[in-house]
């Protein structure tokens, strides 16, 4: 599934948060969104997945006009792993993942055995099979994030949006989450903080600065010392890591 978000413009009060930003995700492409805190990455993603309505611009998923379609229709194709997943009530891991089937259900429809099959598969992919009866609130941050990912997998989207999915996670969980998403083989748009992870997983990168797309292209083309300094106001040298043979970053030099 292809995503085309064109000329998005978001204003809150008098502050322009997104100014004329366009983002494209081709079929089965893993696209990264990088940029400093407060540059508008989350807002840009939110205006794509209908959590907030942009003042102007269009969002299309293939032929589906996202901004003019119902939430339900959009959620059949588009899954989101968001940043805030705290709640005041408790569900078991399995119940939580089962909620991912919501878009596929009519209001009065019961969960069928293939729904449980899909949930089982999602739990297996996120290695949560032993957690199904655990209470969600008792889990650690990394485990919670995996549950949310499992829920989004159970939603069976053709495009997944991830808003800083690896925040606060240790190295192992960062890799686990992104590898799991990559293995799904669907289109992905992910806001990322860690540039090395962006190099490792992304086919294409958009760099956001002050609500505008500052640069875009293959990770190796975009992540130059000049661009990084312009984005984050920090000196940086890039090198080819002798072990991974990928782009590496040395900051503050």
């Amino acid at each position: 599934m292809e995503l085309a978000a064109k000329a998005l413009y978001v204003r809150r009060g008098k502050k322009e948060i997104i100014k004329n930003a366009s983002v494209f995700v081709k079929n089965k492409q893993f696209v990264g969104l990088i940029g400093p805190n407060g540059c508008g990455k989350s807002t840009l993603l939110k205006s794509i997945y209908k959590s907030l309505i942009p003042q102007s611009g269009t969002v299309f998923l293939d032929a589906l006009d996202v901004l003019k379609s119902s939430e339900k229709k959009v959620s059949l194709h588009l899954g989101v792993v968001g940043q805030f997943n705290e709640m005041s009530f408790d569900l078991t891991v399995e119940q939580m993942v089962l909620l991912g089937r919501t878009p596929h259900k009519k209001l009065l429809e019961q969960d069928q055995s293939d729904d449980y099959q899909i949930v089982e598969e999602a739990l297996k992919r996120t290695r949560l099979l032993d957690y199904r009866t655990r209470s969600y609130l008792s889990l650690s941050g990394g485990e919670k994030q995996r549950v949310i990912l499992a829920r989004t997998i159970a939603q069976q989207p053709q495009l997944m949006i991830l808003d800083e999915p690896t925040n606060h996670l240790d190295i192992r969980y960062q890799f686990e989450i992104l590898s799991c998403v990559k293995q799904l083989g669907i289109s992905v748009l992910a806001a990322l903080h860690d540039l090395e992870l962006a190099v490792m997983y992304c086919d294409y990168v958009y760099a956001v600065k002050d609500g505008e797309i500052y640069a875009h292209g293959k990770p190796e083309e975009v992540l130059t010392p000049e661009t990084i300094e312009a984005l984050y106001q920090i000196k940086c040298q890039t090198f080819i890591n002798p072990v991974t043979h990928r782009l590496g970053f040395a900051y503050g030099i």
Binding site: S70, G82, S88, F89, D90, L91, Q95, T102, S135
Partner: protein
């Protein structure tokens, strides 16, 4: 924490037996409830009379029915009262569970959006200012005033919280507090200037909540309202569950919560308003019953709503029984009983180790 998950799994396994047990207990308690009171009627006679009435005379012994005074006491006085207790217990617990999901806060109860103070204001005006005295509203005045008060208040809260964008849970709760405080002060004002000691006492008595005014002519409306509410919300578990996740996640699952939130609040306000109109404000039921059920079965509304309905009904039948036997020959307002049982129970649940508002 691992044990906790395992424990819930185990109780979850007994879910259907527990539901059946609750149904059985409700039936037994209802029969017991019509037996006791100032005139004690033996249990088997009550059962016979109930069977006789319920099956239109096909079942049940006509010997027992033959005793006309027993029949009158049970049929005219105690049966509507048990039905009231059952329905109001179900309705309050249902609205409690729904409001807790709607404002995403486990401390919500059916009155959170100012319904109780609005209904009190309506009842106060009806009693002290007066359309209660006119012929048309003679029997109907207080209930009518309370219902109008409840509905107008919740509409005001809904409007107030929708100003400047979507009605978020926090805005709902704050608007409820503000409008509630405003209504209370108006009630106080009316009471202060009313030169009517008997009326003031009636207001106080009404606000304690009581099942004493129950009668057959009020049963149909209450039954229809509460049962329709139950049926609607029994099928809303999917939306109620996504409500627990918050607006952001719900939208990504294809559900726009703010629309559902409004509909649910209006439904809950109509149900609560009807119950308040007939029986005053009965506290703690709507707060505590959903909590107990969540502790037993978890927060999944597919299981929570049926269990909440039955436990709520059972709880209020017993609160009603207690209100009639705690002090001999005195019919205590049931609101006193529910609060006396409810508050220590709630303290216990909070103090109890590992209680985390979910199960």
């Amino acid at each position: 924490m691992v044990n906790q998950g395992a424990r819930r799994g185990m109780i979850g396994y007994f879910y259907y037996p527990i539901i059946l047990l609750l149904l059985f207990l409700i039936a037994i308690s209802a029969i017991y409830s019509v037996s006791i009171g100032q005139v004690h009627i033996p249990f088997n006679r009550s059962m016979n009379i109930l069977l006789h009435v319920l099956t239109n005379g096909k079942l049940g012994s006509s010997d027992a029915v033959g005793n006309q005074s027993y029949f009158t006491i049970i049929y005219q006085i105690r049966m509507p009262r048990v039905i009231f207790a059952l329905l109001i217990g179900m309705g309050l617990s249902l609205c409690g569970a729904v409001m807790q999901a709607v404002v995403q806060n486990p401390l919500a109860d059916p009155y959170i959006i100012g319904i109780s103070s609005g209904a009190s204001l309506g009842a106060t005006i009806a009693i002290l200012v007066g359309f209660g005295a006119s012929a048309f509203f003679a029997n109907f005045g207080i209930a009518f005033g309370a219902f109008i008060g409840a509905v107008v208040t919740s509409a005001a809260v809904l409007l107030l919280s929708s100003i400047g964008g979507k009605a978020s849970p926090v805005k709902l709760v704050l608007s409820g507090v503000v409008v509630g405080a405003f209504c209370s002060s108006l009630s106080s004002l009316v009471i202060y200037f009313a030169n009517n000691a008997a009326g003031v006492q009636q207001v106080a008595f009404w606000s304690m909540g009581s099942l004493a005014p129950s009668s057959w002519d009020k049963v149909p409306i209450l039954t229809v309202v509460v049962l329709i509410g139950c049926i609607i919300f029994l099928f809303q578990h999917r939306v109620l569950n996504t409500m627990l996740l918050g607006d952001e996640s719900a939208i990504t699952l294809g559900i726009n919560l703010s629309a559902f939130r409004k509909i649910y609040m209006i439904l809950a306000a109509l149900i609560t308003g009807t119950m308040v109109a007939y029986a005053g404000t009965i506290g703690f039921v709507g707060l505590i019953i959903p909590h107990i059920c969540r502790g037993l079965f978890g927060a999944d509304h597919k299981r929570l709503i049926p269990a909440t309905l039955l436990l709520g009904g059972l709880f209020l039948i017993w609160a009603d029984i207690l209100s009639r036997i705690v002090v001999p020959n005195v019919d205590l307002p049931i609101g006193i009983i529910t609060s006396v049982i409810g508050s220590p129970l709630f303290i216990y649940m909070i103090v109890k180790k590992g209680y985390n508002f979910g199960g």
